[in-house]
């Protein structure tokens, strides 16, 4: 009953890219299937809402499809699609800024000392105490309360797992600016979540 390893092993990303470039749509579709969930999450974290996250998801893959012949493969396809999606997300935020809905990077957010006010331990395993939708709502509300570049840095460093240097390069920030924003983003998220999850 056992299948041959060739039949079950997922194809290497570079093979899928080569096949997609040669006009095999099924190969491109496989790349989409592989990364669509992560790109949607990225969109959610950068824009802070589901509608814009869907736009980011669609625009990122449509652009990748359109520009695939220009993709030089000096990075992984996944890194390339993340970069496209980050740019789409930031563009969304700039549009919101120009429509005066949000301020992008209030300078005050970069200054002053960040000291915690909540010092209590949390209830153990809050993720097991809440329904998934409720937990997602709490986490998204906290992220949406951060300045846009803070949440972008937080997502790329802590969720996506990029290095400080890769994050700096992708966002055109200095390494020091990435570190400072990550520090503030982590403490602010913790502060918000502590009000909900603290033991007591």
């Amino acid at each position: 009953m056992s299948e041959s390893p060739e039949a079950t092993l997922p194809k290497d990303e570079s093979v899928l890219v080569a096949e997609a470039k040669a006009g095999n749509y099924a190969a491109f579709d496989e790349l989409v299937n592989r990364y669509e969930k992560k790109i949607y999450r990225l969109g959610l974290h950068i824009t802070g809402n589901q509608e814009d996250a869907e736009d980011v998801l669609q625009e990122a893959f449509l652009k990748a499809f359109q520009h695939l012949p220009d993709f030089r493969e000096d990075s992984r396809f996944y890194t390339w699609i993340v970069r496209i999606a980050v740019n789409e997300g930031l563009m969304k935020l700039r549009k919101r800024r120009s429509s005066k809905e949000v301020a992008l990077d209030d300078p005050e957010d970069d200054e002053g000392e960040v000291m915690p006010r909540e010092f209590a331990d949390w209830n153990p395993n809050p993720e097991q105490q809440l329904a998934r939708a409720e937990l997602e709502s709490i986490l998204m509300k906290a992220v949406a309360g951060l300045p846009p570049t803070f949440r972008t840095v937080f997502y790329l460093r802590d969720v996506e797992g990029l290095s400080t240097e890769e994050t700096a390069e992708m966002l055109n920030l200095s390494v020091g600016a990435v570190k400072a924003r990550l520090f503030r983003a982590r403490l602010r998220l913790r502060e918000d979540l502590s009000r909900i999850f603290k033991r007591g």
Binding site: V32, K37, E54, Q58, L62, F119, W122, K179
Partner: protein, 79 residues
């Protein structure tokens, strides 16, 4: 080491981005300061919550619209 200095190094501590001596100094502080210990612990937990791969699933309707948009693009692209 006081609380303010410890908190200012929390990111570097969590990222393993400290020299051994400073790391040890912070560890000694955390062992005796319950407030800072709680802050460090819950910051780590905050990051873990956001990294939970079971959260933020792609809704089926959003996925269908993505694939439909890609098919439309494919049909309109000259080959």
């Amino acid at each position: 080491m006081n609380c303010r200095k410890a908190i200012n190094e929390i990111s570097n501590y969590l990222d393993g981005d400290l020299d051994a001596e400073l790391r040890e100094t912070i560890q000694v502080h955390l062992d005796k300061c319950h407030h800072c210990h709680a802050v460090f612990d819950t910051t780590r937990k905050t990051i873990e919550l956001y990294c939970d791969g079971k959260l933020f699933e792609l809704p089926t309707d959003v996925r269908l619209r993505l694939h439909e948009a890609l098919r439309r693009k494919l049909c309109s692209t000259p080959r």
